[in-house]
């Protein structure tokens, strides 16, 4: 049952200003466990800004955000990793490390947690198999297509088994087929229990969806 008490993410009266320019205005919403939520709206609507606030990529100007019981206002910069280990983040520009192989990019998440090399090997192979990139594990990101790079980014986001996946325009740079693949992968991990927040302005993707869609326009929620 969806009540305020069962919400995994609680956003209450949140505003974000860049100088005097408002990017988000008094946003209040709850996202529940194992929910798949689309954030959509035109460019500059505040979709990416909202996701950035959730992973502490930006500071909140006003209001409160609670993620899995953690109040974001009380998390210092040096403790941001505690929150980020609950999240898997996917970016439009992939943000893969060019000097590292596909395997190393994905393994980094688990290495940062101090896990054993044996576990890391097993887990990374398993995730790369799921996203269909196992045979490219020794490749470097620049040798991959956009769709392949985004698959690696998805693998990196889910390898730590996060409760929440934040996908910020993950299909923004991809063609229709690659976009569909990424969406299917995120649906797979959603079906395995992850809560997915998916920011997109791709109307094709959300046209026939059964998931909740949240519209943003000029920093305001559109009901």
């Amino acid at each position: 049952m969806k009540t305020a008490d069962t919400a995994l993410i609680r956003i209450f009266n949140v505003s974000k200003h860049y100088g005097s320019k408002p990017a988000l205005n008094h946003i209040t919403l709850d996202v529940f466990k194992n929910e798949f939520v689309f954030f959509t709206g035109p460019s500059g609507a505040g979709k990416s800004t909202l996701l950035k606030l959730l992973y502490l990529g930006e500071s909140i100007t006003e209001g409160q955000v609670l993620i899995d019981g953690m109040n974001l206002a009380r998390i210092s910069k040096s403790r941001a990793h505690v929150l980020r280990r609950k999240l898997g983040i996917i970016f439009q520009d992939y943000k893969l490390i060019p000097g590292k192989t596909v395997f190393q990019n994905v393994a980094l998440v688990l290495e940062a947690r101090g896990l054993s090399q044996r576990f890391i090997q097993k887990k990374v192979h398993s995730v790369l198999r799921t996203v269909g990139m196992e045979d490219r594990q020794r490749a470097f990101p620049l040798g991959l297509s956009g769709g392949e790079q985004q698959k690696v980014a998805v693998a990196r986001a889910v390898v730590g088994e996060p409760k929440i996946i934040l996908a910020d325009e993950p299909t923004g740079s991809l063609d229709a087929e690659a976009s569909e693949n990424i969406f299917e992968l995120l649906t797979t991990f959603h079906n395995r229990g992850a809560t997915v927040l998916f920011a997109t302005h791709d109307t094709e993707l959300i046209r026939n969806t059964k998931h909740r869609i949240i519209y943003l326009k000029q920093g305001h929620l559109q009901v």
Binding site: Y55, H81, R84, K95, I97, G99, Q117
Partner: protein, 293 residues
């Protein structure tokens, strides 16, 4: 985890070979200069100490001092603390010794009408009082006794030599300090350059949940490796130079029984450890500033 950090640090060093080679060479040069000064001090101090060990205090008596005065003075000197042995050297014995020492210039003594040398006591002092200040105090005390004309213990040249060594020490400390700061900034700058070249990567590492320790550890290891390699290179160069100089100029450099020594194992590790400490500090400064932004 440590293996992983070492692997990352070594990968970084190898991928920025030119920058890291320049850093190692510069640290090596700094350590070479500082350790050269240290080697100089160690050997000059050993020389000074060996000279101090041989210090004899000579007490020259007034020409009119009688036998009774002499015995009385001998007794009084013997009562002074830190006097180990006392020998009387008559003016005749002194002249004989002088003639023996200047055998090749015997003509100088031919026209001597009377013995110009005074009677004297030669005093040997205890090991505990061989500090220059203590010898000076002892000499002052003896000089105040009746029938004593002059007290001599080579104070002028020892003081001059000590002054020169102290001057070198001061210059050495100042240069050591400067090179220490230079090394600190070289390492800090190298790490800063690496940090800026990997800014995006570090940001990604943070976004995927890496904490500061995970990000910082390989850089600290890198700084420690660079400073250790730099200091070993500097000390190895000094060792090679020491052997070269010793083999070429051994005869003219050996002063009596004193052997010119190289740094001990303890001093070697002190230099390497000190350099690594500076390396660590350089990393700390860079990382603190970088991760704050």
């Amino acid at each position: 985890m440590i293996t992983l950090f070492f692997k990352k640090a070594l990968q970084d060093i190898l991928s920025n070979r030119f920058l890291n080679t320049v850093t190692i060479v510069t640290i090596g040069l700094s350590i070479l200069i500082v350790s050269s000064f240290a080697l100089f001090f160690i050997n000059t101090n050993a020389l000074l100490n060996s000279w101090k060990k041989g210090i004899r205090v000579l007490v020259y008596l007034e020409p009119q001092a009688t036998e009774a005065n002499r015995l009385d003075l001998r007794y009084q000197i013997q009562q002074i603390e830190n006097v180990q042995e006392i020998h009387f050297i008559s003016k005749e014995t002194a002249l004989k010794r002088l003639k023996d020492q200047m055998r090749h210039h015997s003509s100088l003594f031919e026209n001597l009408k009377r013995n110009p040398l005074p009677d004297a006591f030669e005093i040997r002092i205890t090991d505990a009082s061989r500090e220059l200040e203590k010898v000076a105090a002892l000499a002052e005390k003896i000089k105040s006794l009746p029938q004593v004309e002059e007290v001599e213990y080579g104070q002028h040249w020892i003081a001059k030599f000590s002054y020169i060594i102290n001057m070198f020490k001061f210059v050495g400390y100042a240069m050591g300090g400067l090179f220490l700061i230079a090394t600190l900034f070289i390492i800090a700058n190298t790490i800063r350059l690496v940090l800026y070249s990997r800014k995006e990567e570090i940001e990604i590492m943070r976004l995927v949940g890496s904490n500061n320790s995970f990000i910082k550890a390989p850089f600290y290891i890198e700084g420690l490796i660079l400073s250790a390699l730099g200091s070993i290179a500097g000390l190895a160069t000094l060792f090679a130079a020491y052997h070269f100089v010793l083999s070429k100029f051994h005869a003219s450099l050996s002063i009596g029984f004193l052997e010119i020594k190289f740094l001990s194992i303890g001093q070697f590790f002190l230099f390497v450890g000190g350099s690594m400490l500076v390396g660590w500090l350089g990393c700390y400064l860079s990382l603190k500033q970088f991760l704050k932004n």
